[in-house]
């Protein structure tokens, strides 16, 4: 059974979420404070963390930093409406994804499934072949085809696509895309990203104005669906 640590100080939301998750077959360890959360994290095997920020005894951010120093357990941030730049900072600090309150349980479950799929990815062999809805990407052979037709990508376009595929389903921040594809000194060159994403969509999306694969997370980054 998958064990989820749920750190949320609001009692009603905590109970509701815990109930919904148990219905889905998860084992839930609820924690109402940062101290509780840290204690549970230290003494039990946790498969996934759901973390609220702004807890009564401290910032949830602290738990994320402690966790990331030790292991790669997937962690989803549950936050109130955007506090400037916090979302991006947490993602860059190693959070797997974030959900803004209020969110639907369907959305939460979907994000949890993606995060769990990526669990332990760092140690297992990386994906080299990706196939979905007619899109075929062979990372080893540098080949991309769409509905059986070969698609020609420039080296930068290919690197960008490969980086997004590596975190398929998860949001990748602008900063990490720029750092991984262009290099750390390009972290502020968001306009490069816009241009290359536009080109990629032109080649891979049926309607670039309404993409289904290369999704935009406004102000945060991109997500390969």
């Amino acid at each position: 059974m998958i064990r989820v640590l749920l750190v949320e100080d609001d009692k009603v939301l905590r109970t509701t979420l815990a109930e919904s998750l148990r219905v889905e077959g998860y084992e839930v360890l609820p924690a109402a404070s940062l101290a509780d959360g840290l204690a549970l994290l230290a003494h039990s095997e946790i498969d996934l963390v759901l973390l609220d920020l702004g807890l009564p005894d401290g910032e949830g951010e602290e738990l994320l930093h402690k966790l990331r120093r030790q292991k790669g357990t997937p962690l989803l941030v549950i936050s109130a409406r955007e506090q400037d730049g916090l979302k991006v900072r947490l993602l860059d600090a190693g959070a797997d994804d974030y959900l803004v309150k209020p969110f639907s349980i369907v959305e939460l479950l979907a994000r949890m499934r993606v995060a769990l799929r990526h669990r332990g990815q760092l140690v297992s062999a990386a994906i080299t072949r990706y196939e979905q809805d007619g899109l075929l990407v062979d990372l080893a052979a540098h080949r991309v085809s769409l509905a059986g037709e070969e698609v020609h990508l420039t080296p930068t376009e290919f690197k960008l696509l490969a980086r997004l595929l590596r975190s398929a389903g998860q949001v990748v921040t602008h900063r990490s895309l720029l750092a991984d594809v262009w290099g750390p000194e390009y972290c502020e060159h968001t306009h490069y990203l816009r241009l290359y994403m536009g080109q990629l969509r032109g080649k891979l999306e049926a309607d670039p104005a309404e993409p289904t694969r290369l999704l935009t997370e406004p102000g945060v980054g991109y997500r390969f669906a």
């Binding site: 306009h191 816009r194 104005a209 406004p218």
Partner: protein, 503 residues
């Protein structure tokens, strides 16, 4: 520069006396004593033009005595014969003294007149300078320049930025110069008491500098420190004080102007808060009522509801909650963007991506919504806050779908000169001309009753949403406008300035 009261040249007096002595020696023996005495008087009078009064009198006295000794027989001694010429010598000396005295007074009056004219001109010029600038630093610079002429060392100034603080805080004042601890205390004391200190003022005569307050009508606005040399020209103090008071009055004016502005800002903020509260209390009740009835129905009538009914109720709870969340976002943005000095999180964004993100979220909620995007190719990037822009577009799209009565909605983006146009258009009934003016205003409940508001667009929360759209557009230096479409329908258009994308 201040007018110099004393002519610095004294050598012409020496020349005059030298010439007179030479002439007298040349005429000696050829004319009588009286014409020679007259020459002496003439020399004394002329020389007093260049000599200070006391020196002029002394020179005349020495001249007359030397004349008596050298020219009056018996020569080179003050013998008994001199007495015969006492009348001549006394008259000569008296004449010389009177003319020297008269000359000195005349000169003093001319100097005073010159100084007054200069000071009057300086005051006038200073007051004009003050009118031309509204920056405290520039004002201070002008005063320092005006006062420096009478100072022995750099003038120092202490100016209140705003209200008088309880303690002598460095943050509360604008400072010219670097006063030591004593001078710092002195300046503050002068400012707080609004009275002058220093030589000639009757207070702290010993300090060797004038501490002059910059007085406004309601007390001190600052203080000036004018270091003096050993012999201060006391008459300049009134002038210096007049200059200081002019700056004091100017500072008071600028502070009261900013206080007025602050009060106006606060009143506006208060008005907006009230409007928002009115809008919230009205608009939030509708979705809340739906949620309450649906949830309580599920709670109490559960057993009697069929599956489809339960699903519908649950669906309406989800939908109305989403609507509430959007309204909350809009209200918060409206309040935030209205505040002064709000900083947007701008980055280079592509219109295609922003529209794509909006459409994606919409499809998740209602996959069948009749909406499509038509974007011109090669659109320039926008320098904007992505969260705000998507919020704006979501508001417009929601609004269009709600009031399009099932007709197709389209999102359009194209370049229009130096602006990017993003429009959300529908074929619904549109907005009546009477309401177009106010469509972007926050709904104000007090002004129109419900009965007289037949337009659904204004009845249901659209006020906050469209007002937030306008606030977001303006925060980006752009604008929102409404256009009625030629074959019916509404077009809400966003115009944003295009900036040059870096290489």
């Amino acid at each position: 520069m201040l007018h110099t009261p004393m002519p610095s040249r004294r050598w012409p007096a020496l020349v005059v006396w030298g010439a007179a002595v030479a002439l007298m020696l040349a005429l000696d023996g050829k004319v009588g004593l009286t014409p020679l005495a007259m020459l002496l008087v003439l020399a004394s009078t002329l020389a007093s033009l260049w000599l200070p009064t006391l020196l002029a009198l002394t020179a005349s006295f020495i001249g007359v005595m030397a004349f008596g000794w050298a020219f009056v027989p018996p020569r080179y001694e003050f013998g008994a014969h001199v007495q015969e010429h006492v009348l001549l010598l006394a008259t000569t000396l008296a004449l010389a003294w009177i003319t020297a005295g008269l000359m000195a007074r005349l000169r003093a009056q001319a100097e005073a007149a010159g100084r007054h004219a200069f000071q009057a001109e300086q005051l006038r010029a200073f007051s004009e300078d003050l009118r031309a600038v509204d920056d405290v630093e520039e004002m201070a610079g002008a005063l320092v320049q005006a006062l420096q002429g009478m100072a022995a060392a750099p003038v120092q100034l202490l100016l209140l930025k705003d209200l008088l603080p309880a303690t002598n805080e460095a943050e509360a004042v604008y400072l010219v110069g670097q006063p030591d601890a004593d001078q710092w205390t002195g300046l503050w004391l002068c400012l707080r008491r609004a009275v002058p200190f220093g030589p000639g003022t009757g207070r702290h005569e010993e300090v060797g500098a004038w501490y002059l307050p910059l007085r406004g009508r309601q007390g001190g606005r600052g203080a000036a420190l004018i270091p003096l040399d050993a012999e201060p020209d006391l008459s300049s103090r009134a002038h210096a004080q007049a200059l200081c008071d002019q700056l004091g009055a100017a500072l008071e004016r600028s502070v009261s102007a900013s206080a007025t502005q602050r009060a106006r800002d606060e009143a506006e903020a208060q008005a907006l808060r009230n409007t928002l509260l009115a809008a919230i209390s009205h608009d939030y009740r509708t979705p809340l009522a739906t949620i309450m009835s649906a949830a309580s129905s599920l709670e109490s009538q559960d057993a009697r509801l069929d599956t489809a009914q339960r699903a519908r109720l649950a669906r309406s709870i989800v939908d109305e909650t989403a609507a509430l969340a959007r309204m909350t976002d809009n209200t918060l943005q409206l309040a935030r963007l209205d505040a002064r000095g709000v900083v947007l999180k701008r980055d280079w964004e592509s219109a295609e991506e922003l529209v794509g993100a909006v459409l994606r979220r919409l499809r998740q909620r209602s996959p069948q919504a009749p909406i499509k995007a038509r974007l011109a190719p090669e659109l320039p990037l926008l320098r904007c806050d992505a969260q705000l822009l998507t919020q704006l577009l979501e508001n417009l799209v929601d609004n269009a779908l709600k009031y399009s009565e099932g007709s197709a909605v389209e999102i359009l983006a194209r370049r229009q000169d130096e602006q990017l146009l993003i429009a959300v258009r529908d074929r619904g009934p549109g907005v009546t001309p009477a309401q177009r003016e106010r469509i972007f205003e926050v709904f104000q409940r007090g002004e129109q009753g419900h009965a007289t508001r037949p337009d659904a667009a204004l009845r249901r929360g659209a006020g906050v949403g469209l007002a937030a759209c306008r606030a977001i557009a303006r925060a980006h230096g752009g604008q929102m406008r409404y256009r009625a479409r030629s074959h019916g329908g509404a077009a809400f258009e966003l115009l944003l300035p295009i900036e040059e994308t870096p290489a």
